[in-house]
Symmetry: C2
Subunit: 417 residues, 2 copies
């Protein structure tokens, strides 16, 4: 998948270790759940440690069932500072009787290992819901995890947060704040239980920019709204979603403390990161073979555009037809029509496009005649754009999704994930 | 699938022909769509004809893209009377430039063949969206369709409305109004593009009870709300959904003109019909192997119960786990948690049950320990109940769904339906 590029922003390597002042590591401590064995050789516990106190911010799932780690992290980030992240996969530590106790224990173990305070630790878990989290493997794995922290440990960390992900997802960018080069990087896990309008998934970001906790929170909330919150894999909102960011300030820029040009530049860099992570997540949706981008323009406002875009990428019939590479245009009109938004179908045009070409499929509420052969050429590509024009105003929005495949059913039917 | 029984209501045969005064027929007129051949020997055009003027009522899809037949039928039912139904499958006559003209033409052809007025005809279409409907095969098939009408023609009619349905779905009941035996029967088609909160699918009902158009409409609207509107197959709301009912009055009961005991008895009979049709539709959802019934009780009101029940049966992760016969209880809590309803998760209990037994899966927001073997026994049955108790009040609701299977993807990826 090609990265979307932005002016003044340069991609770089290193994920959560790209910014100055962050070490990371991942180990296999041997977590498992009932009836399952530990995955062979796969890391299941990751740590990110900052060299100094950081400002920090986070956005959380809107699910009323909240994983215990979410509750503990919220409490720890109340003061807007953090120094470390501890995160496990395999077990979500949610819907069990002692989740908060275990999440607190994970923070204490991390604090001991790093010589910091437990309330400076961000804790997260992902995996099976509803099982007791065994703390022993985590406690046993902690010394090696902390000792192995390095400034290039991001590949070990990103592996530890993967569940049904088929590829690690990390990214980093360089940009300039007041003449100083800053770096922002991160890692993300998908790939099921993902639906717009909530924090969506686990994402850990680090930057060396100096920025106040308040503005860090504002930038994160703004950007999540138009990136991760516009991705849908399966319409299911996870209980453990969280996006968090730590800022070390080691780039030595003049701290960003108001909504000035520097704040905008920081937000742009964050947008570049999050937009690409959103695309990676959709492309690696459970069982997915294609990335779908739905761009809606000409809406009376942005919200209308967003609702229509999400309705299309969420439709099971639309997702199945993308998998089948069948240009069944009526299904796109159908999904636009049942979106809870003010749309005059008789004004709606849409095309599908990809590296394979562009086809006019819908015009003024009717399906156009098109060449099945050309449509097949467009749909056989791996990245498909659905370009919808509502013909009413200037509102626009983009949403990302994927196709619905046999493998989605297989992954979620056969495996307790 | 066993029928759900009700006191004072007796099941009978005959579908839309069970009530006095209704003939039906179905033929293959040879409809097709671009790139496809007519299905081998499958009827594609059905007619129901009443012996006398009937009171009539209907409920329609809430999709803003409305099939042309919906617009024409709405107009024809404005006066609350009808004498016939004409319906085709294969082509939905929607999102094309001349749909209304063609729907009107179908009514005119029917009126001519039966010697009635065109505005006494209910017209419906189901099939591929966005193609021009060829009127010639319909015109050519009309004489044989009308001549072949019989008082036992329902099996030919029900076959003509099937699309991806794997079995015909029809039902009829006998009940008593003021000492007179009345009959109410009907047929329904599924089986994709089906989602709650709209009329859902094509359903044609006939009765010989005498009832005013106004009360017929009230009964239909009431009952659809708690039956068909609580079924979800795939979350997609069709453009052509319609449920209609014609009442001939030939049972010679004192006409039902106010909300008295007779009205209640009629509504009960309608509920018995529609509840069973809803269950049949969910069971025959595209690719489905299991019927899922989700009963929510203890909600603070009925709406809360309904929202929670629909959230569970609509969840792709829940549906996949039902297919995989995996008691992944966390997914049920997850779907309850993201329902847009006022729920205190720490009070929520739930069980799964079937002919294979009953298992306590969730208690007070936590997943219970359970025997995997017993869970497998429960989930290996064809009808699964999820029994959720919210522990707050007296509101309750039931919703119906099915599992998500490889075949759903196959049907909707490989075939332009």
């Amino acid at each position: 998948m090609e990265l979307k590029k932005f002016n003044g922003i340069e991609f770089t390597d290193g994920g959560v270790c790209a910014a100055k002042g962050f070490r990371a590591n991942g180990v296999q401590c041997g977590l498992t759940h009932e009836g399952a064995l530990p995955a062979k050789g796969k890391n299941d516990l990751a740590m990110i440690a900052a060299d100094c106190e950081c400002t920090a911010a986070a956005v959380y799932t809107t699910n009323k069932v909240k994983g215990a780690p979410i509750l503990v992290t919220k409490e720890h980030l109340r003061n807007g500072t953090a120094r470390a992240v501890i995160v496990n996969s395999v077990n979500a530590n949610t819907c069990n009787p002692d989740g908060v106790e275990k999440a607190n224990k994970m923070c204490e173990l991390t604090a001991q290992a790093l010589g910091i305070s437990a309330d400076d630790v961000i804790v997260a878990s992902t995996g099976v819901i509803g099982q007791v989290l065994p703390i022993e493997p985590i406690a046993a794995g902690m010394p090696a995890l902390a000792e192995g922290l390095t400034y290039d440990g991001n590949p070990r960390a990103v592996q530890a947060i993967m569940t049904t992900d088929t590829m690690p997802k990390e990214i980093a960018v360089k940009f300039t704040l007041g003449g100083k080069t800053c770096t922002l990087g991160g890692m993300l896990k998908g790939s099921g239980m993902i639906h717009p309008n909530m924090a969506t998934t686990l994402t850990f970001l680090t930057t060396d920019a100096a920025i106040s906790a308040e503005l860090l929170q504002r930038a994160l909330s703004d950007v999540v709204k138009v990136t991760l919150n516009r991705v849908s894999v399966d319409g299911d909102t996870s209980t453990n979603d969280m996006v968090c960011v730590m800022a070390s300030g080691l780039a030595e820029n003049t701290p960003v403390t108001k909504e000035n040009e520097d704040f905008e530049a920081f937000e742009n860099a964050l947008y570049a990161i999050m937009l690409n992570l959103a695309r990676m997540m959709a492309r690696d949706g459970e069982g997915a073979t294609k990335l779908v981008e739905c761009a809606v323009s000409g809406a009376k406002d942005e919200l209308t555009a967003e609702i229509v875009a999400k309705s299309v990428i969420t439709s099971s019939l639309f997702k199945s037809m993308i998998f089948g590479e069948d240009a069944n245009a009526g299904r796109i009109y159908c999904a636009i029509g049942y979106a809870d938004a003010d749309v005059d179908i008789s004004k709606v045009d849409f095309d599908i496009a990809s590296k394979g070409g562009r086809i006019a499929l819908g015009r003024r509420g009717c399906v156009e005649k098109f060449s099945e052969e050309e449509a097949k050429k467009v749909l056989s590509e791996e990245e498909i754009l659905v370009d919808i024009r509502l013909g009413e105003g200037a509102g626009n929005a983009v949403a990302w999704g994927c196709d619905l495949t046999y493998d989605y059913v297989k992954i979620n039917g056969d495996y307790r994930s």
